[in-house]
């Protein structure tokens, strides 16, 4: 860690060795990130730090699901007497082919997000808008699929409170769905800013940063799809 940072620092000494009014606070936060100690912009570093934290969040949710997915069975009361049976677990009712389609949609949205970032870096505003819109649209399709999946489960008799496996399943996938929804909202905000002309080339990095969030959500789905849906 030390080596790279220290090199960056020495390289930056020149930049800092100016009269104070040229290196005041407003300049330190510039998008280019040329004036930070590492050369990474604050926003990008902040996003990666946040994503590192999110790993633990989803780790906790996934392990909760794994611990609970086979839990249904007999229901006992406090005294340990059997008072009921849970007929089966939610994992036996996954519609794998439907969820696969959703997964392909989310993967495709990652690809279009890459195109959006490239368009932003090339200062190609029309394509940027096109790909931002496409990405948000694909995300919306994914969310629509998830809503459909949830309602189908509920119709089959698997509600949030049916048993611990359904609770854990809905909590995990619900958390992921909320992440995707927030991502869609952020993409739409970017799109609106771009249409208003408030997303100039100097700020193209914000597209990349939102893109990082989007890809992370996709990566989490890759894990959920394998561990929750495919491994029985």
């Amino acid at each position: 860690m030390a080596d790279t940072a220290d090199t960056a620092l020495t390289a930056n000494v020149g930049a800092f060795d100016e009269p104070f009014h040229q290196i005041d606070f407003a300049h330190e936060g510039v998008a280019a990130g040329h004036q930070t100690s590492t050369g990474i912009s604050n926003e990008k570093l902040g996003m990666w730090t946040f994503l590192g934290s999110e790993c633990l969040l989803f780790g906790a949710l996934i392990s909760t699901y794994l611990l609970y997915k086979n839990r249904p069975g007999t229901i006992t009361n406090v005294a340990g007497e059997v008072v009921g049976q849970v007929h089966d677990r939610i994992s036996e009712h996954f519609d794998i082919l439907f969820t696969s389609a959703s997964s392909f949609v989310l993967l495709a949205s990652s690809l279009t997000m890459v195109f959006a970032v490239v368009a932003a870096q090339r200062n190609d505003a029309p394509r940027l808008r096109l790909w931002l819109g496409t990405t948000a649209g694909l995300g919306a399709v994914f969310i629509g699929g998830q809503v459909y999946e949830f309602t189908a489960f509920v119709r089959e008799g698997f509600g949030f409170t049916t048993n611990v496996s359904t609770s854990a399943f809905f909590t995990l996938t619900g958390f992921h769905g909320v992440h995707v929804t927030i991502g869609i909202l952020m993409l739409l905000v970017l799109l609106a800013l771009s249409l208003k002309g408030r997303l100039p080339f100097t700020k193209s990095e914000s597209v990349e940063i939102i893109g990082l969030y989007w890809h992370f959500v996709d990566v989490v789905w890759i894990v959920i799809f394998t561990i929750v849906y495919l491994i029985k």
Partner: protein
């Protein structure tokens, strides 16, 4: 969007003067003094002072709760508190002291000092910093409002299932616990991201990793611990909330849930939390001791690496809190071993402090007394902690007063003593006047006596078998004498805290009457924050210093003769900056941090009582997010009228200034997204 002033960024490239048009959708605050100057400030120093003031307030609250506990236990069969009320009081005492006192007090020190120690003008995301504070404060008030709304949480700060279930805790207390800690957790997570980015990215030129002050190093480690441990407790609290408010059964054994899941998730957070509470204080002590021993810190690199090692290993020992939970001999053995190992880096720190003092020209100022008190008291607490690492012994000690004694020796004797030392040390830095040394020494000695009288006997009580969390005991159990001693000790601690408050008041009054700022660098100190005058000017540094040594300020003041003895080469007045620079652009105040955080407790009330409450909360959050995103972090209208000879010549510079500030919003928004997500998930 329609309200946004239409403006294309192209207009700026010509190098013309920026036209004074507001970029945000709403007007932004301009006051820098008075109550508005505090409410809407994004200055890291003001935020730090606010953190400190809030934590002292909650310290008094938690202290009153402690006195209630000790009065109830003073004699057998006391009837001051009912069993139920006693449960609430000890639970809130724990929660208050950990989450609302020590953590924000650490945040106070980190916010105030860390940017100064690395030579930065502010943190990386100033508005997020203000948001962290207000979010913490509103979360804390939300948590404490449970007293008035049906009773506080009553399951202990760890709230083990099944006690935390509706069956055993039907009041709303634990709902307040879950939601309140989620809100304060958001505050700490955001703050962790912010401070990590600040430490990594905003260091002054020459401030390499191997030259960073120890306090900054330790707070960096702690921010990483917060970053990685808070998501886990957030999930656990979420599951608890879903159990209690939405009818799931994650921790309900009768319906297939497993209380062990709660214990694991809680302690994966809970053990790093212990280091979160104490590591920054290790940093504080590592700053104070060298100053008053007039020697450099012994083994600086070892101190860094032992701090990092404690942080790493802190994630691998959580299950030693669960030796009595029946998790199986293999787990117990593994975690027992890991726990014994973690004592090693902690021991390295204690030995290095001792070596720092050894042979030094010690000055027994109050700050130094508190630091040395920490070494002694923390060592006692650390040693009793090692006894818990041995699972067979721990089985005997679990849930007895021995545990209570242990963690008060590390948290009170470690964290709190060190932070009082830090307050005496940095008070002139923050406020421009010293606290009185005489009263400070009374404070220290009375606190030491009271502390040892309160918590020392608890070792004996615990080994005699007195259980934790019982609301009373009977006369024939042999607990009477030491309980009475502990109660007397608790009131002696209260006296010492009163002396501290009196000290603060007297010094404040004198300073008001005779407002002369104290001399710069009053302690002849070593690290970079002392290069600024006292109190720190709003722009921190006149010029960003270029760093070439670990103890930069010391090395600017002293050289060495042939024998290696320090020789003055410059006076303090020459080294310390004047603090009179003008025209420094600083982040502008903003309404949105406080508005955004005000929405969160409302959503919490909505989840607990009626969703109608959540509607104004949700609207507040949405409006605040909108205003936040649309508002540049540095107001281009403010402070642009000073001479900038370079701006006219360098058009791109002005553009970067204007646009770069706005850049922060989109990423900020991602952080805020977490807020929304946390609040929105149960609904959606």
């Amino acid at each position: 969007m329609a309200l946004v002033t239409a403006r294309t960024p192209l207009e700026l490239t010509s190098g013309d003067n920026v036209q004074p048009q507001p970029l945000g959708v709403f007007a932004r605050p301009t006051a820098t003094t008075g109550i508005k100057g505090w409410l809407f400030s994004v200055d890291h120093k003001k935020v730090g002072i606010l953190y400190g003031a809030a934590s002292l307030f909650f310290f008094l609250t938690g202290g009153v709760e402690a006195l209630l506990i000790r009065t109830q236990l003073a004699r057998p069969g006391q009837k001051l508190l009912s069993a139920d009320l006693y449960n609430q009081v000890f639970t809130m005492h724990g929660i208050t002291m950990i989450f609302l006192v020590i953590m924000p007090m650490i945040a106070a020190f980190t916010n105030y000092l860390m940017p100064l120690q690395i030579g930065a003008r502010d943190v990386a995301f100033p508005r997020l910093n203000a948001f962290s504070f207000w979010c913490f404060l509103f979360g804390a008030l939300f948590l404490n409002s449970s007293w008035l709304l049906g009773g506080g949480p009553d399951g202990g700060w760890f709230n083990y299932a099944p006690n935390s279930g509706l069956l055993f805790s039907p009041s709303h207390g634990i709902d307040f616990y879950a939601l309140g800690l989620i809100i304060t957790g958001i505050a700490s997570s955001v703050s962790a991201v912010n401070l990590i980015v600040t430490t990594i990215n905003l260091r002054a030129p020459g401030m390499t990793w191997s030259r960073m002050p120890m306090f900054t190093w330790m707070s960096l480690v702690v921010q990483f611990l917060l970053l990685f441990s808070l998501p886990v407790i957030t999930v656990a609290l979420f599951l608890l909330m879903l159990d209690r408010l939405f009818g799931s059964s994650f921790f309900n054994t009768a319906l297939g849930g497993d209380p062990m899941v709660w214990q694991h998730l809680f302690w994966i957070f809970g053990h790093p939390e212990v280091y979160i509470l104490v590591l920054p204080v290790f940093g504080i002590v590592s700053e104070i001791l060298p100053v008053f021993a007039r020697k450099p810190l012994f083994g600086y690199p070892f101190m860094i690496f032992s701090g990092i090692a404690i942080g790493f290993m802190g994630f691998g020992v959580w299950a030693h809190h669960m030796f009595a939970s029946g998790m199986g001999p293999m787990s117990v053995t593994a975690f027992s071993l890991a726990t014994m190992f973690i004592a090693v880096p902690t021991g390295v720190k204690v030995l290095n402090w001792t070596a720092t003092i050894y042979g030094g020209k010690l000055k027994f100022t109050t700050a130094n007394l508190f630091s040395m008190g920490l070494i002694a008291m923390f060592t006692i607490g650390g040693l009793s902690g090692v006894t818990h690492a041995f699972a067979p012994a721990d089985t005997q000690q679990t849930d007895t007063y021995y545990i209570v004694a242990h963690f008060h020796y590390v948290i009170f004797g470690g964290s709190l003593l060190g932070m009082f030392g830090g307050m005496y040390f940095w008070w002139p830095k923050a406020f421009g006047y010293k606290l009185r040394e005489g009263l400070g020494k009374w404070h220290f000695w009375i606190m030491m006596i009271g502390f040892n009288l309160t918590f020392g006997p608890m070792h004996i009580l615990g080994l005699q078998g007195m259980s934790r969390r019982i609301f009373t005991y009977s006369a024939n159990q042999g607990f009477d004498f030491w309980n009475m001693a502990a109660t007397i000790g608790a009131f002696i601690i209260a006296v010492s805290v009163a002396i501290f408050i009196w000290n603060v008041w007297v010094c404040y009054r004198d300073h008001r009457r005779n407002p002369v700022a104290c001399e710069p660098d009053p302690w002849d100190a070593r690290s970079l924050e002392w290069i600024t005058p006292c109190p720190t000017p709003v722009h921190n540094f006149d010029t960003i210093p270029v760093v070439s040594e670990v103890d930069e300020v010391w090395h600017r003041k002293y050289g060495h003769d042939e024998a290696g003895r320090p020789v003055p080469i410059a006076t303090r007045a020459e080294v310390v900056q004047k603090g009179d620079a003008e025209g420094v652009h600083l982040p502008s105040p903003s309404y949105w941090p406080i508005v955004l955080s005000a929405g969160l407790p409302l959503i919490g009330y909505g989840l607990i009582f009626s969703l109608a409450w959540a509607i104004p909360g949700g609207i507040l959050v949405l409006v605040a997010l909108f205003g936040w995103v649309m508002e540049p972090s540095t107001d281009p209208d403010a402070g642009h009228h000073d001479e900038h000879p370079s701006d006219a010549a360098d058009g791109g510079d002005a553009a970067a200034e204007l646009e770069g500030s706005e850049e922060a919003e989109v990423a900020d928004q991602a952080e805020d997204a977490k807020t929304v997500e946390l609040e929105g998930a149960p609904v959606g």
